[in-house]
Symmetry: C2
Subunit: 401 residues, 2 copies
């Protein structure tokens, strides 16, 4: 089917279709769902950790006829008000009018790409970074330029240098429990990054889907909240804390960007499903909320610790890693920095799925020898078994073998 566009009578498609990157990831995720597969590949939340769906008498009635009708592109006023309160708890002072409800925060990346990217537009991002963000920016023709991660976050001097050199239109960052690396920027680094962005007026797209999945206390101040001058888009998600199947995310943005984003949202899908918005709004105001979050953190902390133990036993001699303070992933650095992509096929044949680290780098910055391993999905026994299989595959494929 993919070859049809090479036949003589093939339709002429847009230039961007030639940039639709390989379906490797879709293939991994599809393979990861095969029966019997032990998957460390995806970022699926654990069913045990998801809050139950409650409907209390005090809830806004999300099945009422009014929410079956067309709604506003901005989102439900009730949800927008509660999002502004929620963001205030996160340290961001925004008005409800600065919030836009999204059909999942992935849509926010699509809108940001439409907002900033023409063919050839330079965009800064971390290297490594969230794969689907890379794909979305590159689809519109972005030249994604990667900034290496440091222990603190990113290096402010290097950031300034990259801005001067490449004249990017915007920067995309995941400062809290970064995907795939699990890094978390220090408080000082957040402030330093904000100052550089303010100095150059460079727009920041800050993506924070893992914020609530914190297992060790760290600073999580949104960099957007520290900006005094640079335009910003803050992307938030409930897909890691609540129910991804409802596809409700949100953004907040500075007033110079917001009206464009709203109109792009309207052109894209009119508005986000209303029953899902009301469910999320109800949860944000429910008395069980903080307990739900504690339960979530406790569940995942145990899984993280179990993964750390299992990794020490299986990968202790062949890889290095930091225990992530939050998020859903371990980021392994193999001591033999081999290309892990060819190992994936072997792993899948042995019923284990993982994400090769190479997939998370912009093409110009690909580094070998990393693997991203999810710890939320597999159960304790499968986790041990799957890691043992993976470690064995890596040992058998050492460069000197």
């Amino acid at each position: 089917m993919y070859l049809a566009s090479q036949t003589p009578n093939a339709p002429q498609l847009s230039e961007r279709i030639s940039r639709l990157t390989s379906s490797l990831v879709r293939e991994i995720l599809a393979a990861a769902q095969a029966p019997g597969m032990i998957s460390f590949a995806g970022g699926l939340p654990s069913a045990d950790a998801m809050p139950v769906l409650r409907d209390t008498a005090t809830s806004h009635d999300w099945l009422s006829p009014v929410f079956q009708q067309y709604g506003q592109s901005e989102g439900e006023p009730l949800l927008r008000a509660r999002l502004a309160d929620w963001l205030a708890e996160c340290g961001m002072q925004v008005s409800p009018q600065q919030t836009l409800v999204l059909s999942g925060s992935q849509q926010g990346i699509d809108l940001a790409a439409k907002l900033f990217v023409d063919p050839g537009t330079p965009m800064l991002c971390e290297a490594p970074t969230y794969l689907a963000a890379l794909q979305a920016f590159q689809l519109f023709g972005a030249n994604c330029i990667g900034l290496p991660l440091t222990d603190e976050g990113i290096d402010p001097a290097q950031l300034a240098h990259m801005i001067e050199t490449h004249k990017p239109r915007a920067i995309y960052l995941i400062p809290t429990f970064q995907n795939p690396s699990g890094h978390c920027y220090s408080a000082a680094n957040r402030q330093a990054v904000a100052e550089v962005l303010d100095h150059y007026g460079l727009p920041l797209i800050e993506d924070e889907p893992y914020r609530e999945l914190m297992y060790d206390e760290v600073d999580r101040t949104p960099i957007c909240s520290l900006l005094k001058r640079a335009p910003w888009i803050y992307l938030g998600s409930f897909s890691k804390t609540l129910w991804p199947g409802w596809r409700v995310g949100f953004l907040a943005a500075s007033p110079d960007l917001f009206p464009h984003l709203l109109r792009l949202k309207q052109a894209g899908d009119l508005h986000t499903n209303r029953p899902g918005q009301i469910r999320i709004a109800n949860w944000l105001a429910c008395k069980e909320r903080n307990n739900d979050l504690l339960h979530l953190r406790e569940t995942y902390r145990k899984k993280r610790d179990a993964m750390n133990d299992a990794l020490t036993k299986t990968f202790g001699e062949i890889a290095d890693w930091e225990t992530p303070a939050g998020g859903l992933f371990f980021w392994l650095k193999l001591r033999n920095a081999i290309d892990t992509r060819p190992l994936l096929k072997i792993a899948l044949e042995n019923n284990v799925a993982f994400m090769p680290g190479e997939a998370f780098y912009p093409a110009s910055a690909i580094q070998h020898g990393n693997m991203r391993l999810n710890f939320s999905h597999a159960n304790a026994d499968d986790m041990k078994k799957g890691l043992a299989i993976l470690a064995k595959i890596i040992e058998h494929n050492k460069p000197d073998n």
Copy 2:
């Protein structure tokens, strides 16, 4: 706020943002929701006509934990199978693997625009046509070229001429209860259009949101089903028949286009909300389905007839129109072909909203003297009252006044 991008330190945005068309429509629709406003502006289904939300013991349980988890970009297998059956009833033989669930059919237009349109790409459409489709194609830089509507649909010879002259990449048509005109292509015209498209191999984007809103028996054979060679995308919606607030639409596409559309969908919002998909799948298989559709048609047929009577009394001397065989709109042609845009402000001041016909034409083909009037929203008394006010405003603004 809109002016912020002209300040000296404004961020550099993509070229397409300069093509985000005016917010006239959003302003009309916002104004139309003001208390006391009699609105003929939007295309909102009537709450009376919507099927009730049922949950029977035989329904797939859409609140089960499984549907709270991430899903597939293609859509729920259950829904895709039922969509293929539904399309077979509409005369289209497609496999479930050719269907893609959308977050409302507006998303299908966004995907089609991403698929075909680069800056300057010629695209054919009807003149007039669906405003938000024009906006979505133009956002990506399309040069939209309008084909005039005839009593039969569009003129096949003119279509061939336009293809030869403009070399468009695709054509966007709404053959059944066209928006805004209410036209319905004849069976012979559907066949003739299909033959021209096949001859040139021109991709067809067929948009059919109003299909089920049929009040007089007419041919509704999808043109896509008549194609032998040309690539095609068929856009379907449940927002006019069921519950628009859930934002579930779908497309079917020829195998040469489908894989690209799927990957664009994945990059856009990962997948559509799952509980909404299951609700729609349940409805498609429920025993009340055909009765729901009969009730819907009966409700709207009465409203259409009431509107026709009220129009005859108020606009009989100043405008011409055809009684639409389906859909949600009357398309009036004023005998004095004045620009109706300036009248909108006066109408809104008098608490009546309508859509000026000019908004539905590609810029190069703007015609004056048309108004689109929705008949599903206003109640019987308001309908009469609102039309009388509108007719008076038009009489007071005749060119010779």
